[in-house]
């Protein structure tokens, strides 16, 4: 059982141009920074990326857009990104916008071996156009397919040598579903510990869903929208 790899470059070495990759993260929160950097270094392109967001101009998936590595984004929200807009307008980039819950549930379906799911989102809108719909108990649902992706790349707070993952706070977001949905799942973690150090009851993604794992380095963990309040005056 050899899941631990030396780092991001080794972890992504089997990902080639043209691949479909599921990414964990919401905005810049909980994104696999090390693997994104390695994909930029490797210079592969023609990628289809499934990710709730597309990063910002100089961080996250934005870095891959900069190198024109992405052919298609499947996302729910892609604001905050000028390069994205430019490539979209120039026709270099395709984008498939889908509801956020649909994105999460299509990933869940893949991880749970369900080929398609009946969802409410988008009924009566262009999202459901051309798709099969059906009424159950008086409500109309649309049939959405499970994702079918070669690779998933996620970022966790802690992981162990068996591939078990624990997330921290809202950096959990899409990471568990993407981890479960990938045929080959790569996890980078802030802290890699020996098997046995994580409480089995606290594990969010069991190692069976993780193929390669490594401890990442130099996490920037950039905050996209820093909001604070003044401390109460003493």
């Amino acid at each position: 059982m050899k899941k631990v790899v030396s780092g991001a470059d080794e972890a992504i070495k089997d990902i080639n141009s043209g691949a479909t990759i599921l990414f964990g993260g919401f905005g810049l929160c909980g994104i696999p920074e090390n693997c994104i950097a390695a994909i930029v270094r490797k210079g592969i392109n023609n990628l289809t990326c499934v990710s709730n967001n597309a990063g910002v101009d100089d961080f996250g998936i934005g870095l891959m857009l900069h190198g024109k590595q992405v052919k298609k984004m499947i996302s729910s929200y892609v604001g905050e990104n000028a390069i994205f807009e430019q490539q979209l307008l120039s026709g270099e980039l395709e984008v498939d916008l889908i509801p956020q819950g649909t994105l999460a549930t299509r990933a869940l379906a893949a991880g749970y071996g369900m080929p398609a799911v009946w969802l409410l989102a988008g009924i009566g809108t262009e999202v459901a156009e051309g798709k099969e719909t059906r009424t159950f108990n008086g409500k109309e649902y649309v049939l959405e397919e499970a994702f079918d992706a070669d690779f998933a790349i996620v970022k966790a707070w802690k992981g162990d040598t068996q591939g078990n993952l624990i997330f921290k706070g809202t950096a959990r977001n899409f990471n568990p579903m993407m981890a479960m949905a990938g045929k080959i799942t790569i996890a980078e973690v802030e802290e890699l510990v020996p098997a046995g150090e994580l409480n089995p009851d606290h594990i969010h993604v069991p190692g069976i869903y993780v193929k390669h794992i490594f401890q990442g380095v130099n996490y920037e963990k950039r905050i996209e929208n820093r909001t604070t309040r003044k401390p109460p005056t003493p």
Partner: protein, 218 residues
Amino acid sequence: MALTKEQIAKRIAQELQDGFYVNLGIGIPTLVANYIPEGVDVVLQSENGLLGMGPFPFEGEEDADMINAGKQTVTFLPGSAVFDSAMSFGMIRAGKVDLTVLGAMEVADNGDIANWKIPKKLVKGMGGAMDLVAAAKNIIVAMQHTNPKGESKLLPRCTLPLTGVHCIRKVVTDLGVFDITPDGFKCLEYAPGVTIDEIKAKTLGRLVIADDVKEMAV
């Protein structure tokens, strides 16, 4: 005089009931959290995976791993729970969220809403809005009554691509409070200093005035 954004939020806060789980969208809806009535205990759901969303952190205590659906840094409260996006939209879809408040570009008198896309303009995406409007059992729209050009946003039919159909129950604008009924927008309250005639003039959709229409208390 038309309401400020804060007053719209304050009026919506009066709709909160003790024990409600509430999802607040970006913009005016976010402000609702500032006006939760005394003695009313509500739990805020953030669709990126948090129940019991707390206030912004104190300066210097921001945690990149703790954000809300608007990507703002937030904090936990006692009793908070974190979960993944599938469970988050699962609980939304299952109708466990009691109230959703969100902004809109247009609302139609049949309850349709459009708030995600303007043709020929760059589209950023619907985020979680379509999931929320399709599933929430109780949705209030918080918005200005007219757009920057002065055109009514309360319409007979939406002209923009829809976010959801027949889903909006109530609209609170800077001019008044409106239930959506089979007869169209039913004006329940008018903002202080706003006349029914002004509301009529600025509402393109079908409009009825409640018999007991009253001035809004904000």
